[in-house]
Amino acid sequence: MDFDYAALGLKAGIEIHQQLDTREKLFCHCPTVLRDVAEHNGEFFRYLRATVSEMGEIDRAAREEMMVMRPFSYYAYDTTCLVENDEEPPAPLNPEALELALTFGRMMGMTPVEQVHVMRKLVIDGSNTSGFQRTALVALNGSLPMGARIESICLEEEAAQRVEGDTFSLDRLGIPLAEITTAPDMHTPEAVKEVAAYIGMLLRSTMKVKRGIGTIRQDVNISIREGARVEIKGVQELRLIEEVVRREVQRQVNLVAIREELLSRGASVDEQSHDVTALFKETGSAILKRAKTIHAVCLRGYAGLVGCEIQPGRRLGSEMSDYAKKCGVGGLFHTDELPAYGVTEAEVAALKAAVGAGPDDCVVLVADAKKKVVCAIEQVRRRAQMAMDGVPEETRKMLEEGSTAYMRPLPGAARMYPETDVLPVTVTDVYYNGLVLPELLSEKADRFAAEMGLDLSLARQMVYSRRCALFEEAVSRGVKSTLAARTLLGTLKELSRDGADVAAVPDEGLLDLLLRVENGAVAKEAIPPVIRALSEGADIAAAIEAVAPSISREEVRAVICATIAERDAFVREQGMRAVGPLMGVVMKELRGRADGKVISELLKEELAKIT
């Protein structure tokens, strides 16, 4: 599936959320470490409710989250404090995080905000104990070399991570996030990916951003001319961005087509819903049989369209179901997919008769407790009605492989109000212009290739590696760049593939090892087993002693002499040509305890004596 994006009028923009690798959180002095949920040492629960904004309105997204009063549970740790619990006022805005955000701003040619004000953005889905996310606009209006404009950088606190259901973990809450928003300047899925990748490179160039899955997330705003702006939250992998854009375009194109079809059919949505509980008294469908109440609504002229696929694995019916679920029901049934799920043809006929549905109509059923059902049917009606307008503006979440599901309406400015507990911060020109900009990773890769003679693709791999700083340190201390790069990229990857926990190997240990190898104190061949020992917690000296106990030149010479003596006839016959074959035998004997160069040198000496 591919489209003529220019003809469709595709416009896309992205918001990149990048966790910053600061020492402390944004509004408290806790460390920015993620924890295993099993380590939590406390748990509590709260309810949240939308409050009226400073302008006297309740945000529409917040109002929708409030339809069901839910208790949210939170896991606390010995690395979280009362600020995360929403039981202590916030500390001042973390200056390290602000400096980093402003550094990004300078890298993209932006203008800083003279006086930064921290705002509260209402979020009452439970992901923040306070019911709002603190966020501050720090810089405006920049651009990227490929032409995309950067509208703003905000500094935000990371939300609590959902453990499951309505349970959240507080370790992530409050980690600083830079939110970088582009203008809607991208017009193809490839352009969206290119811009996202470039911004990612800029962020990593500072060497002060978190790494790993979930530490960078993209929200993508997408619309086509006939469609509407849709915000897709939380695309965690760059490789999925293009697919997400493609599938959203597909969805909007299909929803527009459904709208045209509905309008041509003169479709309408019944105002009245019907209590059809009695019809399913003897049903074979377990869900319907169990339900206290079943209501049905007739969508006139919708037959065949509710079951119509609009994205891989998603139908118009799925969209209605997303809306209904906001009322706490599990889902819905519709006659485009029935008879199925234990519902018989006779029951479908009776249902259609009960609501007066004709062959062009689709009937939607919701089954649950009465209050939920009444709420859910109203949501189904709403969403069905919207289908006649085409694409609703909304916030959606990404599903696996790039399709999306409805989350909530697009929030408005009404959800923002000032954080009165944090004082504004002034950013002076002197401070901003004095910020030191890092070397871009793209430039660094070119430099590695030019100065160190690394292959360009190896250089690129090296700059994106977690061990890039270690690489530079090692090379500056005399380690050959090829040895350092091969060890830090190839050897580590191979060991990891073999099950070693290479992330646990400290940089200092690797540096020490590389220096010893460079100085000839440890043989190159000993690198993998030494690193494996380091990954198991051994210190460098112990690791070397265990794997490759030091051996003197004289001991090496003794091994060589013994080897030659055992192969007397062969040596006499081959003369100096025996160096090659004997090297392998001696190396194997010494198992990496001596450097190959030394062995070769001594072997030649000893052979020369004989021949």
């Binding site: 309810y47 409710r49 409050t51 302008m55 006297g56 006086q115 509260r120 019911g131 400015a413």
Partner: protein, 410 residues
């Protein structure tokens, strides 16, 4: 420039549109259309349009169910009754019953409400004079048919006010003090749960002055504390309020709002009239003893009619301070000894120091919290000029401020 003026600001090579809010440290704070506030140099602003007429948030009227019990809400200010005007930064506490019922929607299902704004102050500005007005207002509301009274109050000195009203007013119906630790403008505020629980307690069988606040950090239960036994024990946690010397006298489950009262709780007395004795002596002090305290600190209370000393352990001070106390009692000041331990009873008969203090004329404060003893002494000295009678009243439990036997705590 007037708050709410629509402005354009030439900034960062673009025209930013927004609303002027206020001046802060020489910067103009503007709310951009995205909802973000930023501070910019005022010279970049040009006026685009005058302020729009905003619709007051209080336009929605509130339904009152006349078949429900009649409660009165008396507002004194504090976090639970405050609303920040984000345009001016000012805090407003003009909370009518309608405002409170709008802020806490579930209230309308519990009772019908009358309201009175008695004060709009931060609780550190509370005075004995306002306590007197408060006690009079509560008494008038009860005589006027209120089946329970809720006093909204800042949490910092709420326990003092609750103790003061406990002594000044013998109430046949619940008088419930309530506040919130987290501001009402946040979705996580404790104002809703505390507010609903206070209304439930105010319609319950309780018949004394109480404080109703979160019992734990969870949104599960509010504790009902006796007004003379409660203390704020944390600057910011929801469950800051704790009872001393006894467990709390009841609890309110959330969200069911089921009220459970302990056997200790004084019960409602429907056919009894409230009795008000609101006179207070304001020349009463409270001083905490510390190692090395100079006797001049005690002498600073020369001329006071009463002084409560928060002593160490069983109720002790250093020898030089004992001399200073003696000079106060000789001059007719009633000096009451309490303990910094907060938990436990004063006994000045165990060590020599205590015996010296008794000899210096100190009255043992039993297991009263120091601040409760201070408020009680204000009230006692408001009722009598006789120091012996005052000492006798201080040693007599009047509103459950102490019991004869300490709870075994097991």
């Amino acid at each position: 420039m007037e708050s709410g003026t629509q402005v354009t600001c030439r900034y960062a090579g673009a025209d930013l549109e927004g609303t002027y809010i206020t001046d802060r440290d020489g910067m103009a704070v503007i709310k951009l259309n995205s909802g973000y506030n930023i501070g910019v140099d005022p010279s970049c602003l040009t006026v685009a349009a005058p302020p729009e007429e905003t619709v007051a948030a209080g336009a929605i009227s509130v339904r009152q169910d006349t078949s429900l019990p009649q409660l009165s809400i008396i507002s004194t200010g504090g976090t639970i009754a405050s609303r920040v005007d984000y345009r001016t930064g000012a805090v407003t506490s003009q909370f009518t019953a309608d405002d409170i019922m709008r802020a806490i929607p579930g209230l309308a299902d519990i009772a019908q409400f009358r309201s009175e704004v008695l004060a709009t102050i931060l609780s550190e500005n509370m005075t004995p004079a306002i306590w007197q007005t408060l006690a009079q207002s509560i008494c008038a509301e009860i005589k006027n048919g209120a089946e329970g009274v809720i006093v909204t109050h800042g949490t910092d000195t709420m326990a003092y006010s609750a103790a003061a009203v406990s002594f000044m007013l013998d109430t046949p119906v619940p008088v419930v003090f309530v506040g919130s630790q987290r501001s009402a403008d946040r979705p996580s505020s404790d104002n809703v749960m505390n507010g609903l629980a206070s209304a439930a307690a105010a319609t319950s069988d309780l018949g004394e002055v109480a404080v109703v606040m979160h019992a734990s950090t969870n949104d599960d239960t509010c504790a009902i504390h006796r007004g003379t036994r409660v203390r704020k024990m944390h600057t910011s946690r929801r469950d800051a309020f704790q009872s001393f010397g006894m467990g709390h006298i009841g609890s309110v489950a959330y969200p069911s709002l089921d009220v459970t009262l302990s056997a200790d709780a004084v019960r409602r007395r429907p056919d009894t009239e409230p009795v008000l004795a609101a006179k207070l002596e304001e020349k009463v002090g409270l001083s905490t003893f510390y190692p090395g305290m100079h006797p001049d600190v005690i002498h600073a209370f020369d001329g006071y009619r009463g002084l409560v000393v928060s002593g160490t352990g069983l109720g002790h001070t250093s020898a030089p301070v004992i001399d200073a106390i003696r000079s106060l009692t000789d001059a007719g000041t009633v000096v009451v000894m309490t303990s910094q331990c907060l938990n436990g009873r004063v006994c000045d008969r165990v060590y020599d120091t205590g015996r010296d203090l008794l000899a210096a004329g100190v009255v043992e404060g039993e297991e009263m919290l120091p601040e409760v003893a201070c408020v009680k002494l204000m009230w006692v000295l408001g009722q009598t000029t006789d120091t012996e009678e005052a000492a006798r009243l201080m040693a007599t439990p009047l509103r459950g401020e102490f019991t004869r036997c300490s709870e075994n705590g097991l």
